[in-house]
């Protein structure tokens, strides 16, 4: 047990490498496998959102013309159409393959505003007659995009600053720790809301903006962790050997130190994913996040706060956030236990 508690140089000749052990420990637990399955499902829904819910068919044959993936490619001649109109207008020789949810996330069904879950709209509609299920499906894409990209930003900034501070020490270290303290002292939500209210983006730009600002305030945890791990590894003999061989600082850090100190960062990144998704939905809930023309879970939920008679607006998007955050936390804990149960991440 004790042999793999600490990150070691990867042993290529031994029967089982460090990562193979971690992987085995991780897969051993049923909960971890379940969490990964749900994460995979979420990604599938996010990536294929246009095929799950769209206002145009997946395949369409209209007046002798065949369209492949009009839901994705949006041919200009179909711009004024949607599934409802098509079904009314289609002749005998026309046919279409509909997505399971025949509503776009921005198609307004004004005949049913705030209608409860039922056959037409499986999870009901919001205050503008938009299908809740379609918005939840497309919200998955937004949430995961914000989560993944802000974690990339978090890890990049955190690892670079953390390793520079720990490897060079001295003034670098002092400066980083001051910076970490400043970011810790600032009230995250207020800061983010202020920045986002100043920038005011719309569409996918609001998603990118969101991911950048979440990344900019979220990197401190990873930086501190990287710093601590590198301080531990830095004095080891193989680092000294690398230095004696005359390798550059970059090579020593990137090829020799980081691979042996990165595993806790991986755990932290998984938790950061949950945190980023939570913050994104909280900001959208407060009305400062993803712009309303995009579908987001938090935005739907804030509609639920305004319309108390429409319980489905509060229940479903909230459940989506809850499930996503839970599975990431679960995967993070599983990973932590597989790497080192005593790790304090």
């Amino acid at each position: 047990m004790n042999a793999h508690l600490f990150p070691q140089p990867v042993a290529r000749n031994r029967s089982e490498s460090y990562w193979a052990i971690v992987r085995r420990q991780f897969w051993k637990r049923r909960l971890n496998r379940a969490a990964c399955a749900v994460i995979a499902l979420l990604f599938a829904v996010g990536l294929l959102a246009d095929f799950v819910a769209s206002d145009l068919p997946i395949l369409l044959s209209l007046e002798g013309e065949t369209y492949v993936f009009p839901n994705l490619l949006r041919p200009p001649e179909l711009r004024r159409w949607d599934n409802t109109l098509l079904l009314e207008e289609m002749g005998e020789n026309d046919w279409a393959v509909m997505p399971p949810v025949p509503w776009g996330y921005n198609s307004h069904d004004l005949s049913s505003v705030l209608s409860p879950p039922g056959p037409g709209h499986v999870l009901g509609t919001d205050s503008e007659g938009r299908d809740v299920l379609s918005r939840v499906v497309h919200g998955t894409r937004v949430s995961l995009a914000v989560g993944v990209l802000s974690v990339v930003v978090v890890v990049l900034i955190g690892v670079v600053l953390g390793s520079v501070a720990a490897y060079f020490g001295g003034a670098f270290d002092l400066l980083l720790m001051r910076l970490v303290e400043v970011v810790h002292a600032l009230p995250t939500i207020l800061l983010l809301v202020t920045i986002l209210s100043v920038v005011m983006l719309s569409g996918w730009a609001s998603v990118v903006g969101m991911m950048l600002v979440i990344g900019l305030v979220g990197w401190t945890g990873v930086a501190r962790l990287t710093r601590g791990e590198i301080l531990k590894v830095k004095t080891m003999e193989y680092v000294e050997a690398a230095r004696a061989l005359g390798y550059s600082h970059l090579r020593i850090v990137a090829r020799h130190i980081l691979p042996n100190s990165i595993s806790p960062v991986l755990v932290s990144a998984t938790f950061a994913m949950a945190a980023a998704i939570l913050i994104e939905s909280a900001l959208s809930f407060l009305g400062f996040g993803i712009s309303p023309d995009m579908a987001s879970w938090g935005g739907l939920l804030s509609d639920g706060r305004k319309h108390a008679d429409a319980w489905w607006l509060a229940v479903f998007p909230g459940a989506a956030i809850f499930v996503t955050v839970t599975v990431y936390n679960m995967a993070g804990e599983g990973l932590r236990d597989a790497i080192d149960p005593r790790l304090k991440v």
Partner: protein, 342 residues
Amino acid sequence: MLPFVARRLTWMIPTFFGVTLVCFGLMRMANADPITADLQQGLSGRQISSEALEHLRKLYDLDKPWHVQYGKLVGRLVTFDLGNRWQDGRPIAEVLAEALPITLLLSFLSMALAYLIAVPLGVFSAVKQHSLSDQALTVALFVLYSLPSFWVGTMFIVFLASGQYVSCGFQGEPGCFPLQGWHAFSGFDQMSTGEKILDVAWHLVLPVVTLTYNAFAALSRYMRAGMLETLRQDFIRTARAKGLSERSVIFGHALRNSLIPIITMFGLTLPQLISGSVIVESIFGIRGMGFVALEAIRLPDYPLVITIVAFTSVVTMVGILVSDLLYAMVDPRIRLDGSEAA
């Protein structure tokens, strides 16, 4: 002790400058001087001559280089010369003095509740490790920990307070709990002290629960882990070998030692509660600091926003300092003279 506090307070100065620099950067980014804000919004619709504009710029120091402006901002923050808010011209200090006690009440109640429940629950769970109740508790705490508070708050409003689904008919409120505010809007001043306390308590049930359970779940998990770690130590075996009762081993020896990491959590929980209160106050319409801040951002009234951000940052820094001091007080192994603990 004193030199430690002095040194830590000195270290706060660069952090404070960092925080105010971020605030100043935000202000510049927003280009938020009252003149352009007024012109952009076209509130008055009046034409302004370039001389008058120049005069106004001079008045608000907008003609000065940035470091002079920044220096003035810090000077005003330090001397509590905060100015008035744009919305209604009330002094910012007065607005904050009104909002702060409400947020403090919320945070204090939450913190106290979280610790009061988390410590016994964590101990119970650790002592009964692997039992069915421990496993059930662990799952429940994990779920609570991942439950987004703005969802819980919204569900409370929709199902308990809106009157759409349940109704109790207290004080003319539609649901079983009030929809808005931290006390009754009408007739609160006429109530006797007892009635006032009851009224506030009734108003704060849902907000406090919403604000508390996340911190409570995190604390319980830490408490359980810390207790398990302590129970494995040699001195616990010694205590048992001496023939001490299990009660005395757990409460006299193990609990005291595993409380230490929990106390440091105080410093980390504080910023979470502050962030949480922004959301909770916005959901439940409670006019605390978070509510005022969001209102100011919506307007936008950036000087007020920046005052609140700077102010909360200082509170957070002090909170972390206090938790470090508490840590040293309960654990004699930690010395505050700068050398690492033995």
